[in-house]
């Protein structure tokens, strides 16, 4: 994981004059945020899904 972050970080590296060392560097960093962000959003909501399904099953068994 650290290596992946390091790769995307490196792609946005700036030279002494402030210009990007790597062409499309910022866009590639944005791709890194996109990949991490989408995985994070889907992962978190998938966890909520599992919790709701479990809660629904418990509710079905338990008389309200």
């Amino acid at each position: 994981m650290d290596q992946i972050i390091e790769y995307f970080r490196m792609m946005g590296e700036k030279g002494a004059d402030g210009s990007l060392v790597h062409r499309y560097g910022t866009a590639i960093q944005a791709l890194g945020v996109t990949a991490g962000g989408l995985i994070g959003v889907f992962g978190t909501l998938a966890l909520f899904y599992v919790l709701i399904v479990i809660a629904n099953r418990v509710a079905d068994r338990k008389p309200s």
Partner: protein, 375 residues
């Protein structure tokens, strides 16, 4: 003599452009009823702040009342968070509990945030600015303001205006995108809905568990998700009815009023009149289109794996954007227009409230990941 006419001599053409923008926003609020609670104060704030000498921002070396509000409510991120408490108190997650699968559309429809962020970097914005612009796609004003105030305060005004403007334009933006990406048959798909009651303990536990889980996964999202879920807990607890009503009404109204005029106060001609503002407005539209397409195409993808008779109406996916409850209403109207009696409102609302959670989690992810990559 010059001092006598300073009001006339201290303004330039840029100020007149801002008056025109302010008046347009007020016109949209009153005549078209586009998010009037926000666009009207934003429009008036834009006029106030561009009047000669901008006395509302500073006067006699002291900060003016709008500067005080800006420092207290936007820089501290207090106003958007208070709005979330109010929004949380308004949301009923019941339709989501009955159709938990809808939660995934709340994730898929955040695609626009990230796609727009990538496009913005190609247009020359740095990563933090691009992320703030992408967050317009959260279709969620407070999240946009929260992220922009941290990452791109310079563009806060343009981003806020874009976010609220496009939210009010959802009835115009979503239908053509949906029609392009779906067939008539797909829009006519019926979905079964079984009415069942949700136990109170589930409604009470949900905001607590969601806050805790989000806190462990994306700690930076806790102010956003925590305030939304706090509002929801007040609502669902059943023992704070008076407070819940206050959050939904008085708190929402007062903070919206202050938020609007304070955002308007950041629309100074020097800040607002530049070509990047136009780009931000255009990117906002791109974000909403990508959001709609992302949710909708995800629903079509899910349909590939579902047996005949169990297929989802793919329009449900488009509701995953967080413009609540407008998006759900539009989808229901489109379904009824295609075929009278086709009711998919509850599923649409389930997807729509998931979008609320999804957009906040996405905001938290952006807040966590961008600094990590920029270190």
């Amino acid at each position: 003599m010059n001092d006598l006419f300073i009001g006339f001599t201290s303004v330039g053409w840029q100020h007149f452009v801002m008056y025109a923008i302010g008046l347009t926003l007020i016109w949209l609020a009153i005549k078209k009823e586009y998010e009037p609670m926000l666009l009207l104060p934003i429009g008036f704030g834009a006029i106030l702040v561009n009047l000669p000498l901008s006395a509302v921002l500073s006067y006699g070396g002291e900060p003016g009342w709008l500067s005080v509000l800006y420092s207290a409510g936007i820089k501290t991120e207090l106003f958007p968070l208070l709005i979330f408490v109010a929004v949380g108190a308004m949301i009923d997650f019941g339709p989501l509990f009955k159709n938990p699968i809808m939660i995934f559309f709340g994730a898929a429809a955040q695609f626009g945030i990230f796609a727009t962020m990538i496009v913005a970097t190609f247009l020359g914005f740095n990563l933090k600015e691009a992320a703030s612009i992408g967050i317009i796609g959260a279709a969620d004003g407070p999240t946009s303001i929260f992220v922009a105030s941290l990452f791109a305060p310079k563009y806060l005004a343009a981003i806020s205006v874009a976010a609220y403007s496009y939210m009010s334009l959802v009835p115009i933006i979503q239908p053509p995108v949906i029609k392009i990406l779906t067939t008539k048959e797909e829009r006519r798909i019926h979905m079964e809905y079984h009415e069942s009651s949700v136990p109170k303990w589930l409604k009470v536990m949900f905001p607590i568990v969601v806050t805790m889980v989000a806190g462990f996964i994306a700690p930076i999202s806790v102010p956003l998700i925590g305030s939304l879920m706090f509002g929801n807990l007040i609502r669902e607890s059943g023992v704070m009815e008076r407070i819940s009503q206050t959050a939904q009404n008085e708190l929402a109204n007062i903070v919206t009023l202050l938020l609007g005029i304070t955002i308007g106060s950041s629309m100074t001609a020097a800040n607002f009149i530049e070509w990047k503002t136009i780009l931000i407005m255009a990117m906002g539209l791109v974000a909403f289109v990508f959001d709609t397409a992302g949710g909708l195409l995800f629903a079509k993808l899910v349909n590939l794996f579902l047996p005949k008779g169990k297929k989802l109406n793919p329009m449900i996916g488009a509701c995953g954007i967080s413009a609540f409850p407008m998006s759900a209403r539009i989808i229901q109207k489109m379904a009824s227009d295609e075929e009278r009696g086709n009711i998919i409102l509850m599923q649409a609302i389930g997807s729509n409230v998931s979008g609320q959670i999804g957009s906040i989690i996405a905001g938290g992810m952006v807040l966590a990941l961008v600094p990590l990559l920029m270190k």
